[in-house]
Amino acid sequence: MSTPCLEIESLSATLANGVRVLRSVSLTVEPGEVRALVGESGAGKSMIGKAVLGVLPPSIRVVEGRITLEGTDLGNLSPRASRALIGARTALIPQDPLTALNPSRRIGPQMTDRLVRILGWDSAKADRRIRKLLDDVRIREPDRVLRCYPHELSGGMRQRVLIAAAFAAEPRLIVADEPTTALDVTVQKQILRLIAELQREHGTAILFVTHDLGVVAKISQKVTVLYAGKVVEQADTAALFAAPQHAYTRALMAATPRYTDPMASLRPVDEAVLAGLSAEIATADRNWKPNTKGSGHD
């Protein structure tokens, strides 16, 4: 089997007060594969993405585990080297396209910056590249858009720009953190289709954070279900939908509205299931000691 694009092994992170936000998370993203990361709000989905990209907030500390990017253990690298590797191999498609672009800089230089100043491309090549990608995300007037400030574009346009920028550097792994949540429903579908299309065309692996099982079914081949920072179930997407193993997954699926019978399925996740999970996690926390043998990652 080839080296996984991303391998997270037993990653735990705590707040300053010692409370764990990630509980020995392990997951793998194979090259070219889309892995969905689902779970309700606060489950720690974004934290996993931030840990991979090396941008955890300072209040959160990794206490055990290993993150391996295309065979390189990030914990073994100097901060500078790990920044360089992350910069060369990964990209983020963020949740909020409003704050993810610098309001006081024009779109053009923001998009080419990384290609020219990090990857060392000459500016003509970088310019051709982003124009090609703007075309791929169906932006028809690249000249005008490149000269715009972010506030001059709608949310959907900004997200297209961010998607183009993410794919422009040919990363091996993209972390997409709820890339459609901040957009209105009609735009959501277009954006999702664009990401899927570019993913297939470029063969980029994606760690796709979402809380929407409908999106999971559409875009991913693998799923990781997260609850309170703990992996509850991992499976092939098709297998998971056909036969969810864990009670929490079944409850989550039951809580997702279906088009056929929207009202009937709008049930909250079953109390008993949550109580069982919480008890399980409490026991695990009591018995947990950080396995410091795994190299730290900052």
Partner: protein, 282 residues
């Protein structure tokens, strides 16, 4: 397809009015020897306390009248602008560079850098500024450079506080995180991503500070702590005018008007520039 929102570009009269006034005073100050109708120091007791041109008894050529030693007021105001602007630019720029640099580092890096800078600012601000200024000038000795140093040393905290707060809120933005992910160093992110967003505020503060420096210089001249008393300064003129307010109101009123208009223009110009610079407000 491109759903760009184009806001109509509003003309900004206060920016132009304030900027126009400042430019006029600045130009007059720079070219004072060519512009001033008389020698600002030339005394003529035959011409003392001449009123401004629209009052009966005015002498042609002495547009704003003369003071109690017969010196031409307009010429003195023009020469006084030289000192006012020299102090305004030098002191405000020095305060701005120091304060903004420290504020930017403290706000963006946080942690111990922030703790150290914030501590120093707190200690600094515990001194009452006017007393601080008088003390400093007393120690450094009177003179143009002491005045400039005193203002810069006291007022850098104004920049530091505001820039720190702005940098801090910008540092939390996703675009900063995005630049880090792309592989840019912290210094790079600070200078290329955060600084441009703080710049409009810095520019506005800089202009405001120039106005403040003009006032402080006037106060120091007023209490005779600024430069040598021979050179005309607006503060010095106000001090002299106060003594003859009943015989010749204009000796007090013209430098006062000059001072107020200039200080007001600096603050308005700063605000105008800020909204001009800021792509979101624009």
């Amino acid at each position: 397809m491109v759903e760009a929102r184009q806001l109509p570009r509003r003309a900004n009269p206060r920016l132009w009015l304030a900027g126009g006034w400042l430019l006029a005073v600045l130009m007059a100050a720079i070219f004072a020897p060519l512009v001033a109708p008389h020698d600002p120091l030339a005394q003529d007791l035959m011409l003392e306390r001449l009123p401004p041109f629209w009052v009966t008894g005015a002498e042609p050529g002495y547009w704003l009248g003369t003071d109690s030693l017969g010196r031409d007021l307009l010429s003195r105001l023009i020469y006084g602008g030289r000192i006012a602007f020299a102090v305004a630019f030098a002191a405000a720029i020095a305060a701005c560079l120091t304060g903004s640099a420290l504020g930017l580092v403290a706000g963006y890096f946080g942690g111990w850098a922030d703790r150290i800078v914030s501590r120093i600012v707190d200690i600094w601000m515990a001194f009452p500024p006017v007393l601080f200024a008088i003390l400093l000038v007393a120690v450094l000795g009177t003179g143009l450079s002491s005045v400039i140093i005193a203002i810069a040393v006291i007022d850098w905290t104004r920049f530091c506080r505001v820039v720190r707060a702005e940098a801090m809120s910008q540092a939390r933005m996703d675009y900063v995180e995005n630049a880090r992910i792309a592989g840019f160093s912290r210094i790079d992110v600070m200078l290329r991503e955060v600084l441009p967003n703080v710049l409009p505020t810095i520019v506005a503060l800089l202009s405001l500070e120039m106005g403040i420096a003009v006032i402080v210089e006037a106060i120091l001249s007023f209490v005779n702590l600024s430069i040598s008393t021979d050179d005309p300064t607006w503060g010095g003129m106000i001090a002299e005018g106060r003594l003859s307010i009943h015989q010749a109101w204009w000796v007090l009123v013209f430098p006062l008007i000059m001072l107020i208009l200039t200080v007001l223009s600096f603050s308005q110009f700063g605000e105008g520039l800020k909204s001009r610079f800021d792509p979101v407000l624009r």
